[in-house]
Every structure is written in structure tokens, then in C-alpha cells.
Symmetry: C2
Subunit: 111 residues, 2 copies
């Protein structure tokens, strides 16, 4: 399943914030996490993710810090801020509005 461009754009932020709500993480791991929880139906490229992370950091929704992994490689970890938590809640709410609308329409159609 390939998600439409619009849907990818609309879902990236809430998904990233929701992942970081559980625990701090870094770019590469986030991509894998998204694949995992979507049964490989959502496939993000790194080139698409990093700019989004930078935007979220600029917006103040997440903060970053560098850590060295056991492997020796450097990883840029992201931590969700209070503003990020609020944004995440807001986005989820907006999603539920649309979801509810689609739900109502489906039911109406079935009648």
C-alpha cells in the first residue's frame, strides 16, 4: 500500500510526535518504528524524515541532543516538549474530526 502524497504529509507530524511521546528516539529508528507499527505499509525515506524533524524542532515541538551509540556511531536523539505534547493532542483531535465525518458518511451511504 502506497499512501497518497497528501496523506503522508498530513500524517507525518502526528506519527512522529506520537512515537516520541513513548520515548526519545532518533531518525533512523523512527523510520523503522513506523514500518513496524504499520506492518510495513508505511515506508518513509530518510530524506523525507529529516527535514520534518528539523521543522518540528524549529517549531519548538521537539528538542535534540547527540548521543554516541555502543556501535560508536553518533545519533541525534529527539525529545518531545510540552508544546509538542499539546500539538500532538491537537492533531489527534483534528484527525478524529475527519475520521468521524467519514464514518458518518459511510453509515449514511449504507442506509
Amino acid at each position: 500500500m502506497t499512501l497518497s502524497k497528501d496523506l503522508v504529509a498530513a500524517s507525518a507530524t502526528p506519527i512522529i510526535l506520537a512515537i516520541l511521546q513513548a520515548k526519545d528516539s532518533y531518525g533512523y529508528a523512527i523510520i523503522q518504528k513506523v514500518q513496524e507499527i504499520s506492518d510495513h505499509q508505511i515506508a518513509w525515506t530518510d530524506g523525507m524524515l529529516y527535514p520534518v524533524l528539523h521543522r518540528l524542532e524549529t517549531a519548538g515541538f521537539i528538542e535534540s541532543y547527540w548521543l554516541d551509540a555502543d556501535s560508536g556511531r553518533r545519533r541525534k536523539y529527539y525529545h518531545i516538549t510540552t508544546a509538542g505534547n499539546e500539538e500532538c493532542a491537537l492533531l489527534k483531535q483534528q484527525w478524529s474530526v475527519v475520521q468521524h465525518a467519514l464514518q458518518v458518511l459511510s453509515e449514511e451511504y449504507m442506509k
Copy 2:
């Protein structure tokens, strides 16, 4: 509640197609229908809707025909095509993938 720009873009097509699945309709009525089923939480402008309708028609998802209303005004009615029904089903499926992902993340966070 004001929906984010991305979400508006991603939800417009499935919502319009879902409305037309129930019965043929026209621009102005579609805007009112969206307000109604979303408890006035989704507010589309006509300037935003008409281009979307034209795009959907060009894509072959809907077809149009003119009708004169009792009021005397002309209305451009839209009818969903077979391709449109398929597209609608596909989009709904894509939405459920994202919805499911967000759901899983929420549950993981709660644990």
C-alpha cells in the same frame, strides 16, 4: 476547530467522494453537507472546493451535468464514477492504515 492545511488537503477528496456515494450533489450543497456532518468543525470555502471538483472530474472520479433548480438557478451536479468508487475505497483504506498506526502508538504510550 481549524484543521491543519495538510489535513484539509488529505481529507477533501475522500470526504467529497463519500458524499457523492450517497447521492449526486453540487458544490454549494457539498459545502453545507460537510459543515453539517462535522458539527461545523470543518468549514470549506467555495474557492477551495471548486478546483478540487474540477480535478476529480479530470481524473475521471466524478462526472458533471447541469440542472435547473426550482429556484431558477443553475446547478452543476456531480455523479461518482466506478473509478471514483474504487478511489474512495482505496483512500479510506489508506486512512485506516494511518489511523491504526496512531492507535497502536497511543496504546503503547499508555502502557
